[in-house]
Amino acid sequence: MRLVRLLLQTLLKGPVTQAPPPADADSLAQLAATLSARSRDTLGRSLAIRALDAGSCNGCELEIQAVCGPVYDLERYGLKVVASPRHADVLLVTGPVTRNMALAAVRTYEAMAAPKWVVAMGDCARDGGCFAGSYAVMNGVQELLPVDLVIPGCPPEPEKLLSGLLALLETVA
């Protein structure tokens, strides 16, 4: 059967996963200023991430999906995208935070157990990006939630996203 052949071929060829990027130096510096190392023992080098689209154009979502795929394989680092904020340590927010999403974003954050961190992913999440100044958006995540790390880019490339998240892992877990 074709499926069996494909599975065998994939096994023999070995993983398509690429070598990990180093933890991002800028992100490490950002985090060093805001975070204590106390939580390391509790979290055991593993972070659960809840992705939250707060009004992105969906470009960032595409790159989050790419990072979860076999080529970047987020889970090998102990980083996992989870379905419920109750299970999450990190809120990964994309988009400029539309006013229509603000309440849902706050509720998602409040549903997370402490200790918790907020990562603003993409130029919109940083400061509203090209949507800044609109009646319908807040200008970035920091207007609504305490942001621990900004990963800029439009959208941030998978390596950039990975190295930012790895910096978070280095610092907190």
Partner: protein, 506 residues
Amino acid sequence: MLGNTTLTEFLDGLRTVPQHQPWPRHLLDERAWMDLLHQLAESDWTLLGLWADGGEVHAALRDEEDGAVAVASLSCPERKYPSLSEVRPGAIRLERALRDLWGITPVGLSDPRPWLDHGRWPVSRPLALPRGPAPETPVDYPFLPVEGEALHIIPVGPVHAGVIEPGHFRFTCSGESVVRLEARLGYTHKGVEELMAGKPLAEAAKLAARLSGDSTVAYSLAFARAVEAATASEAPPRAHWLRALMAELERIANHLLDVGGVCNDAAFPVMLAHCTTLREEVLRANAACFGHRLLMDRILPGGVSHDLTREGGATLRKLCATLAQRLNILVDIYDDLPSLQDRTVGTGIVRPALARRFGAGGVVGRASMQGGDARKAVAYPPYDELDFAVPTQPLGDVNARIWQRIEELRESLSLVNQLMDGMPGGPLTRPIPTRGGEGMALVEGFRGEILLWLRLSEAGKVVRCHPRDPSWFQWPLLEAAIENNIVADFPLCNKSFNCSYSGVDL
């Protein structure tokens, strides 16, 4: 009026707006607008878009018999106009959005509820002059009533369990079966139309590229073509070909992810893993050839920003060969797995008549026998010189939408090869003259036909821009498709549609 009048005949003799390109725009008085409504009830002209602009309402229509496109405009000084929703149900959400943003009332629209306005902005009627005051409380949104014994309601969202965009779905179920689904969207409304007004072309183009990130090429192309139409200019031939190349690469990348995603939602993640790996190769080729994985901001009014080098061409040819071969393996596996097809065949059926009633195009429409494709219907360059088919499927279920994507993938791979073979030389851009005018573009994105209309000032700035995503006419069909399916099949149906949230929330 007779039943078989053509759109051109109907609008003939009405006052025409100068400088509206490439299709005519006619000014209707209220009587002519009412005639239009009666005529729409008789004819099968497709509603392509409906939007407001200052004190006017515009409806873009296409006569499917001869392909004629025209815009009908009605001035509404009393800020109301006779609604199109009775004769074209696809207009319902467009009219609700228009009422929220402009404070213009569609008379006869049966749904009084707001759509984009959730009562959380510091203004109301944000595009009207003057704007309205901020609401005192958020909108209390009544969902459609459902009566019956033993029904239960499942509210889902706006925050979903996966990495997807936000929207609220309200399921009313009898046991496992969905009796009614009602979607409430608008959560990602960013006020793009207001942001675009008054912007120079370069800034407005950036916003257009971010209406829906997965369709960034298609929106940039639509914006560029509308600007070029408005200013009576034309991109150089090589730019046309490079634009089409990028558009096909975007279609390939998205269709791959969707085929994998639908199978994943039917609990077959192997397909997603392989499709994601293939997609990654496309994105890397994009980055290598044009400097951006999603090809954002590569298409600009007047041309394109990046040329394709000889090495880039070789990369793309190799990519196409690999994709064609590996796609065949994946297709055989899908075709060979009854347990997977058990989930997709007969699930989430969209009847062709309903797709037609809503004027739905794209993958969703074509999987239900609707043959429209702007690349053929408008035949903008270079598609007029390329050889490709527009496949359709008769059954309109999840399986049909998977096959539709597979067949479109094959056509797109062939198109990429044709584009490489016939790519002309020459410059990449031509300057856009600074002048006013109105332009409209119809462009086929991976979801379907995008309409973008704009007016430029004499200084060459955007006065008003309205983008209409194909999902406007596809979202309502999802509510029909899920009826009598089990709740657990909703993710499957939703993924097989893959409508844009950001694109319709604006």
